[in-house]
């Protein structure tokens, strides 16, 4: 197992009495050092620390090394490793009929920005309440290192050829298409990523996190813009992040002016501490232009890019009752005989 965990389990159990082990999955079969395994570790931490009951979680993925990872966490949850690029559709259907499930989708850059781009874009519009993660390594890991649509122009393939095509910035698309929680992070930065994950799980709507996750086997060489080295040299954090759960007292002390507390729909807080720049994650325009600038200057901006709390999520738009559709009984599912008779009358 090659998981890098952000913290060792200090207390043995979390607030619902489960140990961290209860949040793990089967043994990873990814390459040693793969960024994806680190992310798995951070996901485990986030769920463990939030004390989410595993059975309330539904895991979704497409196809790829990244899409294999849902087997490596939360083995007590249900999960669905589907077909390449179509995870959003599957998740949308499942969460429409059971919006009480805590949905987490894990995808890759090939899965989401190449074959699955349309579905990703449309799930942003539909604002399905779930956490959507792209484990972004700029290549198709599982098929041995071809460029994906997030590879930067001029970035170098292991064989030596250069990428000719504009990259797709999934975060920019998410913001453009109305996603209300958009972040970018790095597989190796648990300090940033874990609060982002927790914040995402507290958001009411689709939360999207693009996580740069180096592929040690096919895209970790010089000339790659998704390597550990490149990230280390070019990562610029937008803010320092903390998270306080709705059931914890706020113990983080924060200085007026440099720290912001953002309340999330479930009563939790994201704590944003200002770094060099004064970034306002509530402005769509600023978010988009900041991303555009960063791309031009080859910077990798990480942190919470955009937050908009009041967009209605799919279940609201569908006007669904509180009780999920899957819990409806026969009485609800099949209208009574009188309804059929009435309908038949109307066709007579």
């Amino acid at each position: 197992m090659t998981l890098t965990l952000t913290e060792t389990t200090k207390a043995n159990v979390n607030r619902i009495g489960l140990a961290k082990n209860d949040y793990k999955g089967s043994r990873s079969t990814l390459c040693a050092g793969c960024g994806h395994d680190a992310i798995t570790g951070h996901i485990i931490s986030a769920f463990y620390e939030l004390g989410i009951e595993p059975h309330r979680v539904a895991k979704f993925s497409g196809i790829g090394c990244s899409s294999k990872t849902p087997t490596y966490f939360l083995s007590r949850s249900h999960g669905f490793n589907s077909v390449h690029g179509r995870m959003p559709a599957l998740a949308t259907g499942a969460l429409a009929v059971n919006h009480k499930l805590i949905g987490i989708g894990v995808s890759g850059d090939g899965d989401s920005a190449s074959i699955g781009l349309n579905h990703m874009c449309q799930i942003f519009r539909r604002n399905v309440k779930m956490l959507y993660i792209v484990e972004n390594n700029g290549v198709y890991g599982l098929t041995k290192g071809q460029f994906s649509a997030t590879a930067d122009v001029g970035s170098k393939q292991k064989g030596g050829s250069l990428n000719d095509y504009e990259p797709i910035d999934t975060c920019a698309l998410a913001i453009e298409l109305g996603c209300g929680y958009v972040a970018r992070s790095f597989s190796g930065d648990g300090k940033q990523l874990v609060p982002l994950l927790k914040g995402a799980l507290s958001h009411d709507g689709l939360s999207f996190i693009d996580i740069i996750s180096p592929c040690v086997t096919f895209n970790n060489h010089e000339g790659s813009t998704k390597s550990y080295d490149f990230v280390k040299d070019n990562d610029i954090r937008l803010q320092e992040l903390g998270f306080v759960s709705h059931y914890e007292p706020i113990t983080v002390d924060y200085e007026e002016g440099t720290t912001k507390r953002v309340e999330l729909p479930d009563g939790s807080y994201l704590i944003l501490r200002k770094l060099d720049r004064d970034y306002d994650p509530f402005s769509k325009k600023l978010a988009l232009s900041t991303l555009a600038d960063a791309r031009l200057s080859n910077q990798l901006l990480t942190g919470l890019l955009y937050l908009e709390k009041n967009r209605p999520s799919l279940d609201t738009r569908l006007n669904l009752p509180d009780r999920p559709l899957v819990e409806l009984g026969e009485d609800d599912l099949r209208p009574p005989r009188a309804v059929l008779e009435q309908l038949m009358e109307s066709y007579k």
Partner: protein
Amino acid sequence: MESTLNNFTIQVGTVNGSGSQSANLILLRSIFNMGVPCNGKNLFPSNIAGLPTWFTIRVDERGYACRSRDVDICVAMNENTIDADVAELRPGSVLVYNEALAYKPRREDLVVYACPFTTLAGKVTTDPKLKKLVTNMVYVGVLQELLGLDPVAVEQAVQRQFARKAKAVALNLGALREGAAYAREKLRKKDPFRLETRNLTAGKILIEGNAAAAMGALFGGCTLCAWYPITPSSSLPEAFIEFARKHRHDKDGKAKYAVIQAEDEIASLGMVLGGGWAGARAMTSTSGPGISLMSEFAGLGYYTETPGVVFDIQRAGPSTGLPTRTAQGDILKVAYLSHGDTQHIVLLPASVEECFDFGMAAFDLADRFQTPVFVLSDLDLGLNVWMSDPFKYPEKPLDRGKVLSEEDLNRVGKFERYRDVDGDGVPYRTLPGNPHPLAGWFARGSGHNEAAQYTEKPGDYKRMLDRLAKKFETASQQVPAPILQNGGDTRVGLLAYGTSHWAVVESRDQLSASGIQTDYLRLRALPLNGAVERFLAEHERVYVVEQNQTGQMLSILRIHYPAHTSKLASVLHYDGMPIDAACITEQIVAAEKECAD
């Protein structure tokens, strides 16, 4: 000669988008209201407005409901098609046409009634838009007089058609009366076609197959409808939305269903499988091109054993083909949809009643066998108006299949998602959200073993495939059984499915009249089961009637019943029009003659 009382076909040729559809439906319903069996077929272009469209009403006291090849009464309202329309008429047929058209009648062998429809319409309104609309009602008035339509029946039909708009009722009745008055005063009846009141439609309904199927989905407990518009399927989900809006809201006004217009058909089926996996009854509806796009997900559904219902309202053609014409051209494709060794349960409704029944049954079968179920309707059935007995409320409760709840797990104490516990090939499943510690499992389209774990082991992989085969063997016994109609002679058997049924019914009478007695087995589902084999075994020659070019059902029969394959022959029809009885009769008579030779 055949009686022409309550037995003829009317064809109205108009321009689409000109509002002729309400006049056509009023005409149809007027006849129905008189107690005379009838149904209506709309022949329309793949276009929104301006191109030719035809509506045919077959009036038949004996109840024959398939397309009739010949038109007895041609109402010609479209200048662009009148020549061709007239050219196709048999001698003795009736032509009613709009004098305003640049048309000179040339055939002497027809009964021709020229009517100043446009002028008459001008008497009831001067608004040019309204005038255009009610022009069509004038021909209904003319026909009322010519055919002996009961004015009360017609007025009821008009009232019903414009239910909520008193003004429209008045206007249309006005136009109708103008037409009737004109016919009464100016036209002398010279043709034999007449209507007479009967009592043969009492209690019956008139409905399109797509509405019937949507109703099936409603009573089948469907809570998720994910779809992408496509002709001729769209009216199915649209009807579902309408029904659900009326009958599926809770007391707080919340929707006890979800409808999502997906970005494409791939996503539609993806959403359906997501919904099915999560424990809901989910459906989508599409046509040929959508079926092709669903191939990959269909395989995922089969192999992960996820329920879901797909309605395929078949249309003509490879590729885009003829989107507004009918066919039975997807059956071979759907039966094995997706790469690799994949197969599916397919239901084959022939009537609007079966659209309703199978619309419900599909969800039971999908849950029971944990697999996508395809319901193959077609444009003829889906979009046309058919007379039917009212649908029967289901006697049996929903069959939700082998789902283990938390309590079940407590009791059983163990759970493996893909184990064949009962020996029928059908495993048990748990739904997401089940809090039992054993409940969680991971669905995947890649190789897996009984415990739903990833595996590449040859033995594991083969065992799962073999169990799937067994599951389908079990399913073959539980899908709707074929229906046999004995003709008392075991030399000639007919096999058909779906809408070809109606032409077969009439053709059998024609065949019988020409001395060929037939037995008839109507297939209603795949996988095929033992009854089919028996039928094949018992007959010397079996004709398989279908509406495609390559004999797709014949192919499936040949695959499954090699022992009987040499007695099978195809009767095909594939020009986009609904199959008619004569087409079958002619082919069989010719083939039988050869046998006799």
